[in-house]
């Protein structure tokens, strides 16, 4: 990474810079994913926290590839199950609309799915630079955006308001992830 590259806040872009400069290492990328999960630790379920700890043990050579794969299989199953729950709550509209209503149970279903995705991605055997910790950024955003808007005095509770609040939280989290990655790369230099 050049000094200029450090200004980028786009994780995908930063990952590609690492690849192009020959500095991408799967273990570094896994550690980055784990750190991003650590940054939203309070929003993770115990099952996902355990999976992240397994991934940390893997990159520090305290866990075998077979054990990591077994953990990943569990998280993949959890993600598939959670997606079916999310899917069942999709807004009933004609055509190919893929929209969900704004409600506690929908938020909970999405957060359960994003949780499982955090665990699944972090324990993937082949973690490439194109796999970003997107679910961690989305998790904190969806866990808090709607509640923040509904509790804000004077704020009108509209979908547009919730989505713009979500976007702000998500963008802030993504910037935090970019800082985490830059710090990690500097530390590993």
């Amino acid at each position: 990474m050049s000094t200029d590259s450090y200004s980028a806040d786009d994780i995908h872009e930063l990952g590609q810079i690492l690849v192009q400069s020959g500095k991408f290492r799967p273990d570094l990328w896994r550690e980055f994913h784990c750190l991003c999960c650590r940054s939203v630790w309070g929003f993770l379920t115990n099952e996902v926290k355990a999976a992240v700890i397994q991934a940390e043990r893997f990159f520090s050579n305290h866990l075998s590839a077979a054990e990591l794969t077994a953990t990943n299989a569990g998280m993949r199953a959890a993600s598939n199950f959670a997606w079916e729950v999310v899917r069942a709550k999709k807004q009933a509209t004609a055509g190919s609309d893929a929209m969900w209503p704004l409600s506690d149970d929908v938020d909970d279903a999405w957060c359960a799915y994003l949780n499982a995705e955090c665990g699944r991605v972090t324990t993937e055997a082949d973690l490439t630079a194109s796999t970003t910790p997107e679910s961690a950024a989305s998790l904190i955003a969806w866990a808090t955006a709607r509640k923040r808007v509904s509790s804000a005095a004077g704020a009108s509770f509209t979908r547009a308001n919730v989505e713009s609040t979500w976007q702000r939280i998500h963008d802030a989290e993504e910037k935090k992830q970019a800082r985490i990655l830059r710090d990690l790369v500097m530390r590993k230099k």
Partner: protein
Amino acid sequence: MSIDSNSMRRGMVDQLRARGFNVRTVAEIFGSDPGDEVIKSLAEKLGGRVLTNNMKDFGRDIAIRIDPRATSIDTWTRILGEALEP
């Protein structure tokens, strides 16, 4: 399938292509935004779909609208796989 990529994070189009989706951004096809009517007309001619939030102008047979909760390539793959099922 064409996409208004303004609302999409960078790299998503490449990742969708890598997963076998035949995706072109509006900018790739037209250079600049030609307006919804032209995009809709091309989609109808090619039997394509348009990823957009504008359901009103494109209609439900053409448009695919994706909730902003879906942000990762894996979630998009799930949603598009289901939306494009015959």
